[in-house]
């Protein structure tokens, strides 16, 4: 919970530094989802803690060395806000000054993220996808452990009239807002990551209030797992399409006759892919956690 406060605070700092997009991400990811997931995992860990089977010293050693290397690496980094820093001299001026002409998207962050740094963002999307896979496989393996827990019941909505009515009004608005953020990433703060998280948050709210069973009837888990892969494939597919059309991987200029239109289309598709993956992974993870906490009711 203090983590939640922390991320609200840090979002304020980012706003102070004028990094709207980062603040946006922090707002949606940090303040809401991470708190919830942390609580959920805390709960699981609490109940299922066992003796460690691996050698902790080895891991400690690896972590120490990695940490030391990272710190050593930062020694060479320029001071914060140093105008002579390579980051300020090399590509940034080009990004800032020419992105409007080259890509035609008013929000610089989006053009950097999805176009100039297309590879990086593809990598990030893959990381999220892998994280989702990791969580799925982890929870799948340990789901063989049988433990009794009686204190977990699905939501009983007859007891929660007020919450039910208000949630019914809010959920459609949350979902449409997520899509709005998705498609306005070019103009304002936002984009695939944030939209995915907000969308997932709407679904998570629905699941929390109406119960896992109802929620899975509306959003089939199999479909959502497929969607996680679909988002990544869509991103990579755009890249491959660029290659087929004679450009480099993720070189959107060739998608249309006019490079600016090509860039625009490419960015839109890529962002959509990111959004789909993020939302689907989040929902899957939440389903898995919730399933872990209520499944005894269904097995018995």
């Amino acid at each position: 919970m203090l983590g939640g406060i922390y991320s609200l605070l840090s979002a304020s700092f980012f706003i102070d530094l004028d990094a709207v997009d980062v603040a946006f991400t922090e707002a949606s990811v940090g303040a809401g989802i991470s708190t919830l997931l942390m609580l959920a995992s805390l709960k699981l860990v609490n109940r299922y803690e066992r003796k460690t089977r691996y050698k902790p010293l080895l891991a400690l050693g690896v972590i120490t060395i990695t940490g030391a290397l990272l710190i050593y690496g930062t020694l060479d980094m320029p001071h914060f806000g140093d105008p002579n820093a390579p980051a300020q001299q090399h590509v940034v001026p080009r990004y800032l000054n020419e992105s409007m002409a080259e890509i035609g998207v008013p929000n610089v962050v989006t053009s950097v993220l999805a176009s100039y740094r297309g590879y990086d963002t593809l990598g990030e999307t893959l990381v999220i996808f892998t994280a989702g896979l990791g969580v799925m496989s982890l929870l799948l393996v340990s789901s063989r452990t049988k433990k009794e827990s009686k204190n977990l019941v699905p939501a009983d909505m007859r007891q929660q009239i007020i919450l039910r009515v208000v949630a019914k009004m809010m959920i459609p608005l949350i979902l449409i807002f997520a899509l709005y953020v998705q498609f306005h990433g070019d103009y304002g703060p936002g984009g695939g990551f944030q939209a995915g998280v907000i969308f997932a948050a709407g679904v998570i709210l629905y699941t929390m209030l109406f119960g896992l069973g109802v929620s899975q009837r509306a959003f089939h888990p199999e479909v959502i797992i497929l969607l996680t892969a679909f988002g990544v494939l869509m991103y990579a597919g755009v890249g491959v399409a660029c290659m087929l059309l004679g450009g480099n991987f993720l070189d959107y200029n060739v998608l249309r006759h006019d490079p600016i239109h090509g860039q625009h289309l490419g960015i839109l598709l890529v962002e959509l892919g990111v959004g789909i993956t993020v939302a689907a992974v989040m929902i899957t993870i939440f389903y898995k956690f919730t399933w872990r906490t209520v499944k005894h009711k269904y097995h018995q």
Binding site: I162, L163, V166, M169, M170, L173
Partner: protein
């Protein structure tokens, strides 16, 4: 006209800040959870409302105004529901409010000591 709007918006902002501050102090000063909810609700309703209205006067006609109204409506609905959910959860978990008495509308509103 312009100056009038400015004055009104400043008054709203100052008053809103004052109510926020009052609520924050009440959050610290009131003795137990259930009375603290009331303090928090000051900042959520009149504090937030006045600040938003103050901003609206600065915004002029347009999308910004509409967005401000949206934020205000959302936060009122969400804040109210969240307060209720917290109070209910606290009551359910066994936290008892300290009260001087209870009343029941069916017994003619007569206070009955509990």
């Amino acid at each position: 006209m312009e100056i009038l709007f400015d004055i009104v918006s400043w008054i709203c902002l100052v008053a809103g800040s004052f109510f926020c501050l009052t609520g924050g102090i009440g959050l610290l000063r009131f003795p137990e959870f259930f009375s603290r909810i009331h303090a928090a609700s000051i900042t959520d309703t009149l504090g937030a409302g006045l600040i938003m209205i103050g901003l609206m006067f600065q915004a002029g006609w347009g999308l910004v105004l509409a967005k401000l109204i949206l934020i205000l409506l959302f936060s009122l609905i969400a804040g109210t529901t969240a307060s209720h959910a917290m109070a209910k959860a606290a009551l359910k978990s066994g936290l008892q409010p300290q009260v001087v008495g209870t009343m029941d509308s069916e017994t003619g509103g007569a206070p009955s000591k509990s």
